[in-house]
Amino acid sequence: MTLSPDEIVYFSIGPLNVSATLVFTWVVMALLVGMSLVVRRGLRVEPPIGRAQLMFEALIGFVLDQIRDVAHQEPRRYLPFVGTLFLFILTSNVLSVVPGFRPPTGSLTTTAALALAVFLAVPVFGVSQVGLRRYLRSYLEPMPIMLPFTILGEITRTLALAVRLFGNVMSSSLLIAVLLVVAPLAFPVLMQALGLLIGVLQAYIFTVLALVYIAAGMSQSQKRVSTGGSA
């Protein structure tokens, strides 16, 4: 029983190990990009609209609605980053029911990379909104003595983001592996259905939390702008 898909190494190129995590990340990427390319070829604005295009439109519309509800801002800015996170995590979690597929989100390296991307996106979005000086000054609010705690909070929430996704996905696949030994008939299927639910929920939660962090970083700086303008 392997704990993480990192331990399955197919071949090595020099110091670089091509593990199952990497391969299945490529599979998810190829699937997403390939489906998008296929749908793009048949894009239509008037009926009859193809089923695949309708599905993609519904998916993107859902993400746009969620962004608008959570961030209370024009969602188009966030869509490329947040939508990509959602689609990638959702696809790899849902594909975990396919036999032989090891979800790349069940490896701490993938989730740490995703969480680091969120960690970097918060200052990038914040600085692009209000500029470097104003963004950095928002760390000194409300009191400069809080600075270490603010920084610590940013680091721990990134860690929590990574470990939450990893723990949920890995525990459901581990649970199924254990159940296959103990009670191989029918029961693992129920747990797999539960794992599917948890996977979709975790993709949603990861996206919403990333959005909340980004929006908080931007709106804090925005508040500074409005008060600075009035003063």
Binding site: Q66, D69, R164, N168
Partner: protein
């Protein structure tokens, strides 16, 4: 008892206790959160969307502590750093 078996006994016991206490307390907290969330939805059905979204985000936060306990117990069983000390 050798050092090795001492480490094994302590690790397995601690891993079990960690998951038991961590999962139990997280489940209690999540139960309270869901109960309160459902009550709010029953009082204000119009706000179902925002209440349930806030509830799920909060549940994820609460669940994090349970997941931390799970990861610590997995490390204790599968990747115990103390094995190397006695080998």
């Amino acid at each position: 008892m050798t050092d090795m078996s001492l480490i094994a006994v302590v690790s397995v016991l601690t891993a079990g206790l960690t998951v038991a206490i961590g999962a139990g307390l997280a489940a209690l907290a999540e139960g309270r959160a869901v109960a309160q969330g459902l009550q709010s939805i029953a009082q204000q059905p119009d706000e179902t969307n925002s209440i349930s979204r806030a509830m799920f985000v909060g549940l994820a936060m609460i669940e994090t502590s349970g997941i931390y306990c799970f990861v610590v117990s997995l490390i204790l069983i599968f990747a115990n750093p103390f094995w190397r000390a006695v080998q």
